[in-house]
Symmetry: C3
Subunit: 210 residues, 3 copies
């Protein structure tokens, strides 16, 4: 039951992240293969880093449907590119869903491996956020995560809520739904109200350096 | 016999990839040490990622001649730089030979580790193509693999031919020679006939975005 | 006794590298979270790559004070940013101390894992220098290591001195202090006397290519 829930969650998250990566590759006019790789790295990159850190075989080497789901994402973007490529909102929604779902999966796996909650929160954040970091490195952009929106901080808030529900004795599924819900809520609110973290830098000569 | 063949293949592939990386570093005017590192990463980066994914110690930590071969490559580029730096064809030839040979090595190692053929094809492609991706990330260029020539697709075609020969009952060496031959053939043809994969992007405003 | 020495060394090195990374992130006007991640990657990135290569769990997953020390570094930079952000010398000093200390730690750990001295020298250099390479990749700059100052070469010289003292029968602590001292000395001298490694490139048309 719970594992079926996680599996569905993983398929949706993979599709969402793959579409978000492929759409960015389309903006950069990559060829189909390049776009597929960028979509794949966005979708499985974070989980791959997590699995290397957990000293286990990367999850996608044990099950080939991650490659298939990314192929489906590529076909969807090719068919609907006029809609998908132009709409920034689409990427935001897919990215946010993927982030929330992957955070939950990454935390769960790390806890299953016997690591403490603080490691699980980091591994969840890596699972959710580092596919996008690898994507930005591959397309030679400065990683978005460092400048735009409240991104990884949403993961950490979600992770802390997971911890809190666990502490209060809530069920695993309640922990996971709360965590995902908090992440989606924070990201949506951060865009609506234009939340930003304080910038670190010498404040007096902004005008000359920008 | 077969292992000697693979060893010779690996030396040639390492030398070829190291020269291709060092030559690019020379164009960017890196110092000798930086050029050596870029050559080394190009030569051993793909196999290192493969070995991390296979949960095994990176191959070059068990045998120091990969470092020696890269040093020989550096000396060759320093001596013959007038010839090597100017000729784009030279890099193409070295790169193509390295790609074909590393694909074969990567597939063989993954199969030896008990992974199925589809994982072996991915690991072979990573072995062949991701040294170049790491090189491009290090020199802060957008990875060539996403735009130019039919590169990783040649690997996949080679990998499928390996699979086919295996399926038809051909010997391991026949599988390997066919795989390498197909890769070299596709890359050469793709340059001669200027093959490109379709570009993903909104086709109507190419002129304004480029 | 010796392990206490190494622990103190590790705290100082972590703080030094974290400050060096956070300061660069401040120059690029990252937000606090981004700056924290860049500091963390600078401080623990090299050791993480080393641990993946050694097939062991990354050190910072077993002990959460690396995260705490990086948080202290962030607070220090926020408080003293007027001093820290403007002074290039500060970064140089922190970077050099971190480099020397991490080289020693990386070598020691690799020898403890049973690898030969030449692997230990490479692992030490990775521990010391690759946090900075990852940092430069994350902030989308061409890695400094390839152009500026005698950086990784100082590590290798330090590593060879470690080897020499070992060969001559000196104690482990003497090996480590000599290694760290040589690295600091070479880096300081290289800045004072503006030492550079020879650049690789076609020398005759520098003016047109630059």
């Amino acid at each position: 039951m719970e594992s079926t829930f996680l599996l569905i969650v993983e398929i949706i998250g993979t599709l969402a992240f793959a579409i978000s990566g492929i759409r960015l590759a389309a903006v950069k006019k990559f060829d189909w293969f390049g776009a597929y790789i960028v979509g794949l790295v966005t979708a499985i990159g974070g989980g791959t880093i997590r699995d290397l850190f957990l000293s286990t075989t990367p999850f996608w080497m044990l099950n080939n449907w991650y490659l298939v789901v990314t192929a489906i994402a590529l076909i969807l973007v090719i068919i609907f590119k006029k809609f998908l490529v132009r709409l920034d909102h689409t990427v935001f929604i897919f990215d946010t869903i993927g982030l929330a779902l992957f955070m939950v999966i990454g935390m769960q796996k790390s806890l299953d491996f016997g690591f403490p909650m603080w490691v699980a929160i980091i591994m969840g954040t890596i699972t959710g956020a580092f596919g996008g970091v690898l994507r930005d490195i591959l397309i030679n952009e400065e990683p978005l995560i460092f400048r735009k929106e409240v991104y990884a901080t949403a993961c950490i808030a979600g992770g802390l809520s997971y911890w809190l529900i666990y502490f209060l004795g809530g069920s695993t599924m309640l922990q996971q739904i709360t965590c995902a819900g908090i992440i989606i809520l924070i990201r949506v609110l951060s865009v609506i109200y234009n939340w930003r973290l304080p910038v670190l830098g010498n404040d007096n000569n902004n005008s000359t350096n920008d």
